[in-house]
Amino acid sequence: MKHFQLRSRIQDQVAVIYPKGHLDAHHVERFEQEIRRIMENRVMRIVINCENLDYISSAGMGVIMGYLDEIREKMGDIKLCCVNNQVYDIFDLVGFTDIYDFLKDENTAIRAFA
């Protein structure tokens, strides 16, 4: 049984990442690699679709934080969508909800870049 899985795709010059399951310090490397791979391909518009993300600890949040400055300097952004209530509460606790855009659905998140 895989506790964490990840896939991503590109649409309209926006990379959409789909983390799935339980994202903790054990699985964070895989998540970080994906963000870096996307940035190395010079895509700076990233949507993290959290529809199937059940759990995130500060290890995962650290990755979302660590590249934001560089991404925004390069006129890009990280937006989150489809976050369930429990995970949203955690993002809210650390103050992410003041810094990142949280959108209801993926299309709105992608279009928010246009």
């Binding site: 506790h3 339980h22 903790d24 310090a25 054990h26 970080e32 759990y55 600890s57 500060s58 290890a59 949040m61 650290g62 990755v63 934080m65 660590g66 590249y67 934001l68 400055d69 560089e70 429990q86 509460d89 955690i90 606790l93 650390v94 103050g95 992410f96 003041d98 810094i99």
Partner: protein
């Protein structure tokens, strides 16, 4: 308030692979106390953060070192004690805002903040080469009974 001996004790080796197991075990232990669902999830996260820090900072990712987790369950609340060896934690690292962490391109710095936000008290202590992280969460009035 809390008994002297733990109600539930788990000793795990320092491996991030076991974090999820500890999170689910904590959820179960906390559910028995009938905390609201949201608090159950968050208390389990606080334990994840504490143990992740032990593995990362105290044991520098060295595997097979012992981490002992003790749960003290009382009608009024829950105490969780984590006992470990390795490098002693710095006392009370200052909380840095997310804005600052982002400007500094930091990929960490949220764990202890989260623990403090979730739990009612978080205390670190060390003596004789053993380190202890003790966290307490009280049950709110309206949720008792």
């Amino acid at each position: 308030m809390f008994k002297v001996e733990a109600d539930l004790t788990v000793t795990i080796p320092s491996s991030t692979e076991l974090l999820k197991m500890v999170v689910e075990l904590t959820r179960h232990a906390v559910e028995i106390l009938e905390f609201p669902d949201k608090e159950v999830q968050q208390i389990a996260l606080a334990v994840d953060e504490a143990i992740t820090n032990v593995i990362k900072h105290s044991y520098r990712y060295e595997k097979g070192r012992d981490i002992r987790i003790e749960f003290f369950i009382a009608a009024t609340g829950l105490k969780i004690r984590i006992i470990y060896a390795g490098i002693a934690p710095e006392m009370d690292p200052e909380a840095v805002s997310v804005e600052r962490l982002i400007k500094q391109k930091r990929k960490g710095g949220l764990g202890v903040q989260l623990m403090r936000k979730i739990m009612d008290s978080v205390e670190y202590s060390s003596s004789n080469g053993l380190n202890i992280c003790e966290m307490i969460k009280w049950k709110k009035r309206e949720t008792v009974g």
